[in-house]
């Protein structure tokens, strides 16, 4: 494979060709060349350029970092000089902190003394580049500067090599990229030996779903394995949650009534007792049997008396709209290389408005907020309906849960949520992301829209999230890396098929071969890891930034039947006409007669007789009450109510642009930002880390002080420095003699409660790395600022601080600093 792909690169014959391919041998798999690049097994360095400087983004601390630039089969790697020698025994990390995968590169631009040129695989350079600018699909812009002492041939050749090996818009190249990254035997072995994160729910077995039922306290539902072999619906998951009263045999008949067989499935229960379901549109409006209708009704209502169908079909943006908006947004934020008109600052806002991206975000958040408020009422099922149930249903359903369920705001919970609502539910990641460049019409950044919506929530309520912006950014960037099983399939069936090699008898007639593969003989796909295996992509230091300690009020355990919603009169439940259905569309309730097709014309005559229900007229009083209830203040509502949904402000100026994501590559934005100020984490995050750190010290101090007295000294110094370098944001006196009596009295109660929650927290946030790791970040900053190394190096910013409690193997740079 390696040799094969190498020959496809028409590298111009240069004198130093031997040097270029110096590290190609598979035998030398874990080796590093003299410049400190830690290659993946089987990775092959194609070209190298020395004395290169990389422009650091404000997020990384700004300035320039000198080192060596490499181009391999898989990535463009930059190794800063004086970077610590990587540990040979460490697990391979796909991308270093300064690396970019070839597949993420969108454009390569060379800047010479006289001209600037967009370098394509077929173009030729007529000048020696001084700068190399890589525009990435994930909106980063990497800028490398060649020194005058860099050999001209190296500068030219590496530009060529990158231009020829980066992942151009051609079908098929993705496979060679995947093979370059994961194709080697060692890598395959390594990947197959990796254990899954057991701290999160993967929703792949029936036990996972049962666990979720138990977690949310849902009763009356069961996990059905009727679709275990994807016979009923090819795009649904193997296990679906349906009402207990419906038998599997009855269930089988209902699939035909829905588009792609996507029947109404339970996804979540609100603590107040409402259930959230999602389904595709109705199909095949022929209802012959009474039983058929009974089952449909049962599935739709669960155990509740009311059902509200939320129609997402017509008022949400279409995938094409989103794609257009996102393209415009990219152009606005990144600048289009081909156009020569830039947006002046005073027209920036209207240009932003013109992209409609923020409008679509508002639209999704608004819909989710409506649903979240409906669910609070209790005792109804809310069914999200979309023609295909594979796009906007995913967005809205998961947003509702992020708003209402604080578990979904932790990293583990959020990952489980994405598994449940996107991966297993059959969002067409492969077509929507369009990795293979073969589904241009289908391409739409729906998952990115969701991430942006979550970011908006995070930006408005950072204290309610355990996950941080860094995590969202990491997920955003991973989406552009076609290596993860999570995103490399359109539905669970494809994923299962690949990993288990299901017998052909289970594949549908129209086949699955949408991967156009160049080679005749079918290569074996490398085993794709899930994206949640963050250790593959990010170093421990980076991963430590994904979470912040959250002191949340302890959640009351879910009650068996859900909590009765006491603000409704008791007659609400008894009096409500059983089985009334409303449609929520465009923020209006209505009960159109054709909402449930079996209730209107056709086969519903007998049905109506037997149930003596006239759909619209009789249910009006219920509708009235529903509306009243939605307008009523909730007496139980309290700021400390953990179930209080996060209802975002959606006003024009409140929905903001995700600056750290979309504008991180934009030069005009960088021109003003001070690296240190934009580099700083959110104050809430920093304070939370500080609390954590102090707790740790307190625990340490109370356990065994005398023996390691010296160590305490050290730590104190360290932490002082640490505060200074944290932009001095939470510097205040330790001798809080003058702290007011009122604050101390109130604080003692709060701290005791938070301590209680802290005791609970390890179990709840088991995915959180130990605080020592997180703290290392601050300690590293100190080495960065005080510059014992002379050169600011962002890799060292993550270096451990010597005083902190550290795992054994994390040390070389930390030891160096003192």
């Amino acid at each position: 494979m390696l040799t094969g792909s190498k020959t496809t690169f028409k590298v111009r014959q240069m004198p130093d060709i031997k040097e270029r391919i110096m590290n190609q041998s598979g035998l030398h798999a874990r080796g590093r060349d003299m410049f400190g690049l830690c290659c993946l097994p089987g990775e092959c360095v194609l070209q190298r350029a020395v004395l290169v400087r990389k422009k650091l983004s404000p997020k990384e601390g700004g300035g320039w970092l000198s080192g060596t630039l490499f181009c391999t089969h898989f990535r463009v790697a930059f190794v800063p000089q004086d970077s610590p020698r990587p540990d040979d025994n460490a697990d391979p990390v796909l991308l270093g902190d300064h690396d970019v995968a070839l597949a993420s590169i969108e454009k390569v631009v060379a800047v010479g003394p006289l001209r600037t040129k967009l370098v394509t695989p077929s173009s030729s350079l007529k000048f020696t580049p001084e700068e190399l600018i890589l525009y990435c699909r994930d909106l980063r812009v990497l800028c490398f500067l060649f020194d005058r002492l860099t050999p001209d041939t190296q500068a030219v050749e590496i530009t060529y090599t990158i231009a020829k090996t980066y992942h151009p818009l051609k079908p098929g190249t993705i496979l060679s990229f995947q093979n370059a990254a994961l194709g080697s035997i060692e890598m395959k072995q390594f990947l197959s030996n990796r254990r899954r994160d057991s701290g999160m729910n993967w929703f792949e077995s029936s036990g996972d779903w049962e666990q979720e039922l138990e977690r949310t306290g849902a009763t009356g539902w069961r996990v059905s394995s009727v679709n275990d072999r994807f016979e009923m619906s090819t795009s649904l998951s193997r296990f679906n949650v349906v009402p207990q009263k419906v038998l599997d045999t009855e269930l089988k008949k209902t699939f035909a009534h829905f588009n792609e067989g996507r029947i109404p499935r339970w996804v979540w229960r609100h603590p107040h007792g409402s259930d959230l379901l999602r389904m595709a549109s109705f199909q095949n409006n022929i209802y012959h049997e009474k039983d058929d209708i009974r089952n449909l009704e049962l599935i739709l209502f669960g155990g509740q008396s009311q059902c509200i169908v939320v129609d997402l079909g017509d008022e949400m943006p279409s995938p094409a709209d989103l794609q257009l908006a996102h393209t415009r947004l990219r152009t606005l934020c990144l600048g289009d290389i081909s156009s020569s008109v830039s947006v002046p600052d005073d027209k920036w806002l209207s240009s932003l408005e013109g992209t409609h991206w923020l409008d679509y975000i508002r639209c999704c958040l608004r819909k989710a907020a409506e649903v979240a408020c409906l669910l609070r009422r209790g005792h109804l099922t809310v069914v999200l309906q979309e023609p295909e149930d594979r796009d906007m249903n995913c967005v809205v359903s998961s947003l509702v849960q992020v708003m209402c369920d604080q578990h979904c705001r932790t990293v583990a919970g959020f990952q489980a949520l994405v598994q449940k609502e996107w991966v297993v539910a059959g969002h067409r990641f492969l077509s929507r992301i369009n990795y293979h460049r073969d589904s241009d019409k289908e391409e739409a950044p729906i998952f990115l829209l969701f991430l942006d919506c979550v970011w908006q929530l995070w930006a408005q309520f950072p204290a309610r999230f355990q996950l941080t912006e860094d995590f969202l950014l990491a997920l955003h960037d991973s989406l552009h890396l076609p290596l993860f099983s999570t995103f490399l399939a359109n539905c669970q069936r494809e994923r299962c098929r690949r990993s288990q090699n299901l017998p052909q008898s289970y594949t549908p007639v129209n086949g699955l071969r949408e991967l156009p593969r160049g080679s005749v003989e079918e290569p074996v796909d490398p085993p794709y890891p899930p994206v949640w295996d963050w250790a593959l992509q990010y170093s421990t230091q980076r991963r430590a930034l994904f979470t912040q300690p959250v002191c949340q009020p302890s959640t009351p355990a879910p009650v068996l039947n859900g909590n009765f919603n006491t603000n409704l009169g008791p007659n609400w439940i008894s009096d409500g006409v059983p089985g009334s259905v409303f449609l929520l569309s465009r923020s209006l309730f209505s009960c159109p007669s054709n909402l449930l097709p079996w209730r209107s014309g056709g086969g519903s005559v007998s049905y109506r007789k037997s149930h003596r229900r006239a759909p619209s007229s009789e249910s009006l009083p219920a509708l009235e009450r529903l509306i009243k209830a939605c307008g009523q203040p909730d007496p139980l509502q309290d700021i400390h109510d953990p179930h209080q949904p996060l209802i975002p402000l959606l006003l024009g100026p409140c929905v903001r642009i995700w600056r750290n994501c979309y504008l991180r590559g934009a030069l005009h934005a960088q021109a003003f930002t001070h690296p240190m100020s934009s580099n700083a984490r959110h104050p809430v995050e920093r304070l939370a880390s500080e609390v954590e750190h102090l707790r740790e010290r307190l625990a340490q101090a109370s356990v065994g002080r005398p023996p390691n007295r010296k160590r305490h000294e050290h730590r104190r110094l360290d932490s002082n420095l640490n505060q200074n370098t944290n932009n001095g944001t939470f510097l205040f006196s330790s001798s809080s003699s003058s702290s007011s009596s009122s604050s101390s009295s109130s604080s003692s109660s709060s701290s005791s409660s938070s301590r209680a929650s802290q005791q609970e927290s390890p179990s709840r946030f088991s995915a959180r790395p130990p605080a020592a790791a997180r703290y290392r970040d601050g300690g590293g900053k100190h080495t960065f600022l005080f510059g014992h190394q002379g050169e600011p190096q962002s890799s060292q910013r993550y270096a451990p601080c010597p005083g902190a409690k550290l795992p054994k193997n994390s040390g070389p740079s930390g030891a160096k600093t003192h």
Binding site: G112, Q644, S733, S734, S735
Partner: protein, 736 residues
């Protein structure tokens, strides 16, 4: 309970909470039905009252409201509700409308008319809509009142709020006269009304100019303060030549020795060259302080005019004066472009940009700067104050900032009276929110570099409101001369000295202690001494900056590709971006960019130079100020308050833990560490229901109304017309 007059001692609740919502309005005691009064301030007199008046809550659908009495005093229009439970005492400046109306609309038969002074009809109005200068909107329904009462109150309000009046009628004078004299002004703020203050300031900044005392009796000019500072080489003869016009007045000295001056422009030069020679001497004098270099910046040429600013703001504020929520959602659809079209944000950006240019000259080129303007009291004040805030950490503290306003604006003779139009005079040139513009610019800085500022955004909002409260001597006069003469003339006891008007800095006049704590930024990073030494890290100098012309770095001809800029380059994005910087002749913008890059290479110091971000997305809307009264926007437990709240919790925890560590003896308090109290936030913690408009509007009976929109109700009423309605307005009306 902005307890005016009570000295703030009485009331105990967090202050501004009660501003808007009728539910919160409390009257002192249950008086006999006729005599419902708010706590009157000393010197306040009720002119007329009407009862019952229906005050609408800002809910366009229900048209609900509360009944009460509407009073018009010589200070405010006040509404006292009939229904509120009376639990709290304390005078309530909260519900005042404070005679600071912008417009008063009157609805005659469903038609709305703007009322300006002098055009009162005798027709009986049914509804009165009041727009306040702090962007609140009140609606009163007069149909339940007796006709003559209604007419009386309406006339009274229109007369006292909208008719031109003389300075002597301003409430401050009756207030100050009858106020108990033991109150004194704030101690800590430097008022710049004595020679010592100026000397002290010059000593602090190490300026070497001379203090002019010749204007003590305002013989030199009435448009200059009593004391001011000019370059030492200006002769006494020159001093008196043009009544102070053209004099370079010292503002501030950079630590390098160069200084910032401001001046008013002289009349058009005559033939004889007297003025030219005078001007040359002045410039020479100014240049002498440091290296004989001086740059002149004529602000009237490069910045928008005062009229432009006024017009832009008038358009801008219309977006926030919302009569009903429908209007609001309509405007929300085109939010960004409409805000942008007013040009207000762009004016802010331009001011900041100009200030950056001046900062660059002082900081990088070390030249003296003379900023000029026709009067030298409008944009000069904005720019010079901004420059000082960016350069001098002293002005980022609360007292420092107040001193700066005193120095540049009050002593600098900004025409507050005319610009704010306290007297409602129409013949004067239109009121212009220059001071507000300055606060906006400061807010942008606070937003971008919050740890560098000791005061909070709430402080700025409150300050911007206080400008319109006609009680404070700070904002009431056009010049120092007018202030002194008026106060002397109005004094009841001439032998005891002039009238003692409170300055706005005496915050206890308006707020109690707890409320004042909200003025402080809990995360302010105070100066650390050890820091200073350690920060001097030699950063590696880079030989060449990315794609930018640089005089500081000698680039070899081979590498400096920008020197031969060709057409082909312009096609590329990056060049395009940069060409924006290089667009103007002799490319000052490129220099500015370079200046920014130099600043970025230094480690961030909250006590050093601060530069604002000026790109499109960075200049933001001051949401607290503009959106606080709009109920549709408020959200319980959301927005910045949620963050503040969380930070309060965490801060308290950090303190607790530190205390505990301290007890264990492994945490040593350090002397140079600054005391910072999380108390203001403790206040925030205590209120249960915080809406995003905290501390201005308390949360009302919060419903999820913004989420399930009002159109739901309509849908109920119009179920049969659903089909038609769906197509029309619902998208617009819907929700947050």
């Amino acid at each position: 309970m902005l307890s005016l007059g009570g000295g703030g001692a009485k009331s105990s609740k967090p202050s501004f909470v009660s501003y808007i919502t009728p539910e919160e309005i409390k009257s002192e005691k249950e008086p006999p039905k006729k005599e419902r009064h708010p706590n009157l301030l000393p010197g306040e007199v009720v002119f007329c009252s009407a009862d019952p008046i229906l005050k609408h809550t800002q809910d366009d659908v229900s048209q609900r409201g509360i009944f009460g009495t509407l009073l018009c005093t010589n200070f405010r229009v006040s509404f006292v509700s009939d229904e509120t439970p009376l639990e709290e005492t304390g005078s309530n400046l909260g519900d005042l409308i404070s005679l600071q109306m912008l417009f008063c609309f009157v609805v005659y038969d469903e038609k709305r008319k703007m009322i300006t002074g002098g055009m009162l009809k005798n027709k009986y109005p049914s509804k009165m809509i009041i727009h306040c200068k702090d962007l609140r909107v009140f609606q009163f329904c007069l149909t339940f009142t007796k006709e003559e009462d209604a007419r009386k109150i309406f006339h009274g309000i229109a007369h006292h709020c909208l008719e031109p009046k003389s300075l002597k009628c301003v409430f401050a004078f009756s207030y100050a006269v009858s106020r108990s004299p033991e109150m004194q002004r704030s101690q800590r703020t430097v008022m710049f009304d004595s020679k010592e203050d100026w000397a002290q300031e010059m000593k602090r900044t190490k300026g070497n100019c001379r203090i002019v005392t010749e204007n003590e009796g305002f013989k030199l000019s009435t448009r200059l303060p009593k004391y001011f500072i000019i370059p030492s080489s200006v002769t006494d003869e020159d001093l008196f030549k043009f009544q102070g016009k053209g004099l370079p007045i010292w503002c501030w000295s950079h630590h390098s020795g160069c200084a910032l001056f401001k001046a008013s422009t002289l009349p058009v030069p005559q033939e004889d060259g007297v003025i030219q020679r005078y001007m040359e001497r002045m410039l020479d004098a100014a240049a002498q302080t440091h290296l004989y270099s001086l740059k002149i910046e004529d602000l009237s040429e490069t910045l928008p005019t005062v009229q432009d600013i006024q017009q832009s703001y008038a358009k801008f504020k219309q977006f926030f004066l919302i009569d009903n929520s429908t209007d609001f959602w309509v405007s929300d659809v085109k939010w960004f472009s409409s805000v942008e079209n007013t040009g207000w944000m762009d004016i802010i950006r331009k001011c900041l940009q100009k200030a950056v240019e001046v900062v660059e000259c002082l900081e990088k080129e070390n030249t003296n700067i003379l900023i000029m303007e026709e009067e030298g009291t409008d944009l000069c004040c904005v720019i010079s104050s901004l420059v000082q805030i960016m350069l001098d950490p002293h002005y980022r503290t609360l007292t420092g900032f107040q001193g700066l306003v005193q120095k540049e604006w009050v002593a600098g003779c900004h025409a507050f009276l005319d610009r704010c139009n306290h007297l409602c005079q129409k013949d004067k040139e239109s009121p212009s929110p220059i001071f507000l513009l300055f606060l906006e610019c400061v807010w942008q800085l606070v937003q971008q570099h919050s740890p560098a500022f000791q005061f909070s955004e709430t402080y700025l909002t409150v300050l911007s409101d206080s400008v319109h409260v006609p009680v404070f001597s700070t904002f009431l006069f056009n010049s120092a001369y007018q202030r002194e003469s008026t106060l002397k003339a109005e004094s009841q006891h001439p032998q005891r000295g002039p009238l003692n008007c409170p300055a706005v800095w005496d915050w206890s006049v308006q707020f109690d202690c707890k409320a004042q704590e909200l003025f402080l930024n809990p995360l302010y990073a105070d100066k650390l001494k050890q820091d200073k030494v350690l920060r001097k890290v030699p950063r590696p100098k880079h030989q060449r900056q990315l794609s930018l012309p640089s005089s500081a770095f000698k680039t070899p001809p081979k590498k400096g590709f920008f020197k031969d800029e060709t057409e082909s380059l312009k096609k590329m994005l990056r060049v395009k971006r940069i060409s924006r910087w290089m667009a103007s002749p002799d490319s000052p913008a490129a220099n500015t960019r370079e200046f920014y890059e130099a600043w970025q290479r230094r480690p961030l110091d909250h006590h050093g130079l601060l530069l604002p971000w000026l790109d499109g997305p960075a200049v933001r809307l001051w949401m607290q100020r503009y959106l606080r009264w709009i109920p549709e926007v408020q959200i319980l437990g959301g927005g910045p308050v949620a963050v503040t709240n969380k930070m309060a919790e965490l801060l308290v925890q950090v303190q607790e833990l530190r205390k505990k560590l301290d007890l264990k003896g492994c945490w040593q308090p350090e002397a140079e560490r600054v005391q910072l109290q999380p108390r203001p936030l403790a206040l925030a913690r205590n209120s249960l229901r915080l809406s995003s408009a905290f501390p201005f509007a308390s949360s009302r009976n919060w419903t999820f109304k913004p989420v399930i929109p009002t159109s739901l109700l309509q849908s109920l009423m119009l179920t049969d017309k659903l089909a038609s309605q769906e197509d029309e307005t619902t998208e617009v009306i819907s929700l947050v």
